[in-house]
Amino acid sequence: MAKIYTVSELTGYIKALIERDAALAGVWVKGEISNFTRHSSGHMYFTLKDERARLRCVMFRTENRLLPFEPADGMAVLAAGRVAVYPKSGEYQLYVEQMEVAGIGSLYLAFEELKKRLAQEGLFDPARKKPLPAFPAKIGVITSPTGAAVRDIIRIARRRFPSVDLLVIPAQVQGDQAAQSISAALHLANTLPDLDLLIVGRGGGSIEELWAFNEEIVARAIAASRLPVISAVGHETDFTIADMVADLRAPTPSGAAEVAVPELGELRRRLLMMTERLRMAGLRVLERKRDRWAEMAGHPALLKPQRWLDIKRQRVDEAEERLARAIRNLLEKAEAVFHKELATLDALSPLATLRRGYSICRKEDGRVVREAGEVAPGERVRVILSRGELSCTVNRREETLDEPGGTEGKEL
């Protein structure tokens, strides 16, 4: 029976074999960067690839410190280093010592070509962009039903405007089928009743993972959409073709939810202001007309005991009574509405919060202090209470991690 090796022994053997090879100790490789990440330690991890193969690479901080460029996914590079085995993951990888830009990567070229072509067709024209509904009642969310993006969108949208309805329209957002799946979902969404707006997107990922949003079929489906479309692909720095065609580009999925629905509190305040304006305008109208009526009723021509007037007198009396009644009713109604609104306004106002015993601390330049770190000992601050203000000097400060608003240790 053959000798049985442990995994460590076998890996060690392979490691020795590879690392003994002089050709692998100093090799130049040409490829395209993907899955690029810079670890907090400063080391860079990425994959170099071409059409048929991939190579894991690491470039340590001591080496990458001197790099004259910032590596990014899709970039074609020449990398020099040694090939070695990392036993823990059982992977061989290129330990990069030097790297140069070799030209523009193929994905980047495809992106630029499509962008140019669609721009010529006018697909990015601002004039094509549809306005977004200010108060969408129901929003279609085209994304993966299991990703972080859908959760972010739902959470933010409901926090801002709880009564909004959301319909998740599942689509594959990465892989070979993704572009097809997203465009099919876009077409389907446009046939559904009740939707006011679409959000299409996904969370962050490598350039390959986001690639579907750079495909022509997705761009065309967005352009053909009857419903307004907000794109929300990856992070703030990711810019895709889908973003350019969409009616609005949101930097992230959470950002999409923020622009899609209004903030309830803000709407309430606006409505309150409108109700007050309505009430005032109504009162002014009534007063003006009442004055004119009184003036007219007292006019000598009307007071003359002419026959025609006698005949109509009763009707005038009736009309006067009706008017008085209408005015009374409306005033009562307006008053009731006004009082209710006033109570709401009061509850929203910071004054109500102060009355409950909270206070606001401001720096001398008026900025509100939210964390102990914003002020230095010896600095003067103003503390605003429900009634009156205090002028204080900070003696000592203690920064706490979990209670950024804590005031412990700030003796006044």
Binding site: A137, L167, V168, L188, L192, L271, A281, V285, A326
Partner: protein, 86 residues
Amino acid sequence: MNQAELKEKSFEEAIARLEQIIELLEKGELSLEENLKLFEEGIALARHCRNRLDEAQGKVEILLGVEEGEVKTGPFQAEEEEKTGE
């Protein structure tokens, strides 16, 4: 405007109409009858809008498919939602 007509109005339309009414009233160029009518409509719109803002939590659903023109949906549960207690 009757209740049914009001219900049909989207929040957006209601706010726009309210804005228009306020401007008309503030100009004060119409007859008393017209102004009273507008004012009443305005009050009804404002109440309608407030009711819309007070509406209960909306639905979150997932599209299951469209079969023979019939849209099939189901409730959508985002796993994390329960944790955040929203």
